[in-house]
């Protein structure tokens, strides 16, 4: 018997695949090496330092808004940290407001009220179709050109002031009772989640429902209130006062922060509204009818039947929109809000170390994205349909 004819290696898919991969890898590595060696030569020629040792040096620039103490004498590392906190601040508040506004507009879009539904449609179309950067510029210009000077501030109850330097709000003078209120709030939240679990177990065993939400709400409001009363009910407020050219005291939000927040929230909420609308429409009407024919009350139909199914459709695109808002917050640099990208850009300009700066920017946003998608995957696994 003749030995089987040997297949030449270019006709063997496995070996051919190996060759393709080796070639592709080689091309990428060579291109990488070419870029790397060019960069090395250029850096040496322009005598630009490399490495991250610069972050220990004194930054030497001021940052307008900081959540932790910062001055020009602090290091670059501290400045970048302040930038990250500023990004997180606008992203956190922005995401919360976006969810609320997006849900409201999405429900309004589905309203049987023709006027309201048209209004929501117009809101969605207009805000989706204008670049977010243009919207930021627009709000920033409005804040600067339309709002009055500090001396002619708009005021509410002689305590809240709005002018072209920002929004000024009174804050309670710090008191030991506030710490107790915080602890009470945490305790109330923990108790709420415990009650929820206990009530679910009891309902499964005995069929007896328990007013979980009412009790939890009472706890969340009541416990801190009790703590406040027990702490002596401090009512002193630190009210912003006009001193010289500007207001002092209280807390304030700058027009940069306001414009950034407003622009991002309005833009993203239009997308979220569409997602919410699609999610609710994805649940067939038969589900509502079936639930009602089982004798469930309308609020239970919503919370037990419709929402859990709609959320499964809504959450994944919603997270990607919230991530978009976080990434778009990097446009802060265009209107002068000191977010992470703005601080990193100043760092690049001062040190000349562009590669490290851009790498830092990318790394920080990548961490945000990876964290979000990890959270997303965990949620998806928990919510996935359990089929037979």
């Amino acid at each position: 018997m003749e030995a089987p004819e040997r297949v030449p290696f270019w006709h063997d898919p496995a070996k051919r695949g190996l060759v393709y991969q080796v070639v592709a890898l080689a091309v990428v590595l060579l291109a990488g090496y070419w870029v790397f060696s060019n960069t090395q030569a250029n850096l040496e020629k322009q005598s630009i330092a490399t490495g991250f040792s610069f972050i220990e040096r004194e930054a030497g620039f001021e940052i307008g808004e900081h959540l932790v103490s910062y001055s020009a004498a602090n290091s670059y590392a501290r400045a970048l940290f302040v930038g990250i906190l500023n990004t997180l601040k606008v992203a956190f508040i922005g995401n919360l407001l976006t969810i609320v506004l997006g849900i409201l507009v999405g429900i309004a879009r589905l309203s049987s009220n023709w006027l309201l539904s048209r209004l929501a449609a117009a809101y969605i179309e207009v805000l989706q179709n204008v670049p977010v950067l243009l919207q930021l510029f627009f709000w920033y210009a409005i804040f600067h050109e339309v709002l009055p000077h500090p001396r002619e501030s708009l005021e509410i109850a002689d305590a809240i002031f709005l002018n072209n330097r920002g929004l000024y709000l009174p804050v309670p003078v710090s008191h030991v009772a506030h710490a107790w209120m915080g602890i009470a709030l945490l305790a109330a939240l923990a108790a709420g989640s415990f009650i929820r679990r206990w009530a679910r177990n009891r309902q499964e065993r005995t069929g007896q429902p328990f007013p979980v939400w009412t009790v939890s709400a009472a706890l969340v409001i009541g416990l801190p209130l009790v703590a406040w009363l027990a702490g002596g009910a401090p009512t002193d407020l630190e009210i912003p006062r006009l001193q010289g050219f500007n207001f002092q005291g209280g807390i304030n939000a700058s027009p940069e922060f306001g414009a950034l927040l407003l622009g991002l929230v309005l833009y993203t909420s239009a997308f979220v509204a569409e997602i919410v609308r699609a999610g609710i429409q994805a649940i067939s009407h038969g589900q509502t009818e079936a639930a009602m024919s089982l004798g469930l009350k309308p609020n239970l139909v919503l919370s037990l039947i419709i929402l859990p199914q709609a959320l499964r459709v809504i959450i994944p695109p919603l997270t990607s929109q919230l991530l978009n808002l976080t990434k778009n917050s990097s446009l802060a640099i265009a209107i002068g809000y000191p977010d992470f990208v703005a601080v990193a850009n100043t760092t690049i300009n001062q040190t000349g170390q562009a590669i490290e700066g851009v790498a830092l920017i990318m790394a920080v946003y990548l961490v945000f994205s990876l964290l979000t998608s990890a959270l997303m995957n965990w949620y998806n696994k928990r919510m996935a349909l359990v089929e037979r």
Binding site: G17, Y20, Q21, V22, A24, L25, V28, V35, N38, T39, A41, N42, L43, K45, S111, S112, N113, W114, L115, L116, L119, E125, V126, Q128, N129, V130, P131, V132, L133, L134, Q135, F137, F138, A141, I142, H144, E145, V146, K327, N328, S330, L331, I333, A334, V341, N345, I348, A354, I355, G357, V358, I361, M362, Y365, L366, F368, S369, L370
Partner: protein, 362 residues
């Protein structure tokens, strides 16, 4: 003689006046419950408070052809900031007497886009026309041949730059995106890993970081003596960025093709290239036309980010106009004008994509 349709002796009973016509419509759509009635009334009150002053500002009290000084005296909107600077806002620093060239490009693109709006008009000729128009744009803008005066890229600005960046961006990103999508679905681990890394890396970072890379890092990557102008570098960043998003869209299309199609192609003995070229991609790319239009819309909006690295697109030329002391303080009017331009572009594209979805679903 006319035969009465109704048997004699019975009267035709008309529906009550409150359930047909305008009254019926209002009852059904505006006042069908207490809550909705309240909402309607609140909305009408808000309209009454907002619309008349806005119309007064935007139309009756507005100035259209005055100077900036006259605007500062007036109460109404100063549309003069747009009319007086229209050519600069649209075409920026392009030589004044040569501005017919960007105008031709913009007209060509808008005309072709409107013509393409109906899928029944699609043909190979139309695709060729699009290709030709991109070539024409590539000749008209820089000039230097056919007796056209050369115009250096640093002077390309305004709406033509916006269109240029988004159109060329999408055109170049498309093949790259398809390759990346195929790579991500590949059976070869090295190629798959590289594609996944690229796609996820790019999608995880904001466009602005890519633009920074293009403006400050890219010059370091090239050998000494070779420089690439700023517009091309920004264009490269937009292409690399858009390609990752296109790859994900195309991957969706590839996954939507039933396995049987792949297996049938393989059992016919087609090679990988033939299988993709003849069987899979034509079907997959057709499915993903609507989401691709969405990417074009995003690319069109996102080109405005080049402002941050100092290119003079539509948004930047408007800002430059507003920094002129004569026109300072009329940002609202100028920004509203370009917002309308952007809106018209994006809204017509998204309508186009919605219509396409219906046509392709048939």
């Amino acid at each position: 003689m006319e035969v009465p349709l109704q048997p004699s002796g019975t009267d035709t009973v008309k529906p009550p006046a409150t359930s047909v016509g305008i009254l019926g419509w209002m009852r059904k759509n505006l006042f069908n419950s207490v809550f909705n009635s309240v909402l309607t009334i609140v909305a009408l009150i808000v309209f009454a408070r907002i619309i008349p002053p806005f119309v007064q500002w935007a139309l009756f009290d507005s100035l259209w052809t005055s100077t900036g000084a006259a605007c500062k005296e007036a109460d109404g909107a100063c549309w003069s900031v747009v009319t007086n600077n229209l050519r600069f806002i649209l075409f920026g620093f392009y030589p004044y007497d040569q501005q017919w060239r960007p105008l031709c490009c913009v007209t060509l693109i808008v005309g072709l886009f409107l013509y393409t709006g109906k899928p029944s008009r699609w043909s190979k000729g139309l695709a060729a026309a699009w290709g030709m128009s991109l070539v024409a744009m590539g000749i008209l803008m820089p000039g230097g041949i056919l007796g056209l005066e050369p115009v250096e890229p640093a002077r390309w600005s305004g709406i033509s730059l916006t269109l240029l960046l988004s159109l060329f961006g999408l055109t170049a990103a498309y093949p790259l995106g398809v390759l990346l999508a195929l790579g991500r679905r590949s059976r070869l681990p090295a190629i798959k890993v590289m594609s996944v890394l690229y796609i996820e890396l790019i999608r995880g970072v904001p466009l602005i970081s890519m633009l920074f890379m293009a403006s400050v890092m890219f010059p370091l990557f090239l050998p000494e003596g070779i420089t690439v102008n700023k517009i091309l570098r920004a264009q490269a960043a937009i292409i690399l960025f858009t390609a990752a998003y296109i790859a994900e869209v195309v991957r969706g299309g590839l996954q939507a093709i039933p396995r049987g199609q792949y297996e049938a192609a393989e059992s016919l003995g087609l090679t990988y290239y033939q299988k993709m070229r003849l069987i899979i991609l034509p079907q997959a790319l057709k499915i993903v036309i609507p989401p691709t239009v969405s990417i074009l819309i995003s690319a069109f909006k996102d080109t405005s980010l080049v402002v941050i690295i100092g290119l003079f697109d539509l948004l930047k030329t408007t800002q430059v106009t507003l920094s002129n002391p004569e026109w300072m303080g009329f940002s609202a009017e100028a920004f509203l004008f370009i917002a309308v331009l952007y809106f018209l572009g994006c809204f017509s594209m998204s309508n186009f994509s919605r219509r396409l979805e219906k046509v392709l679903a048939r």
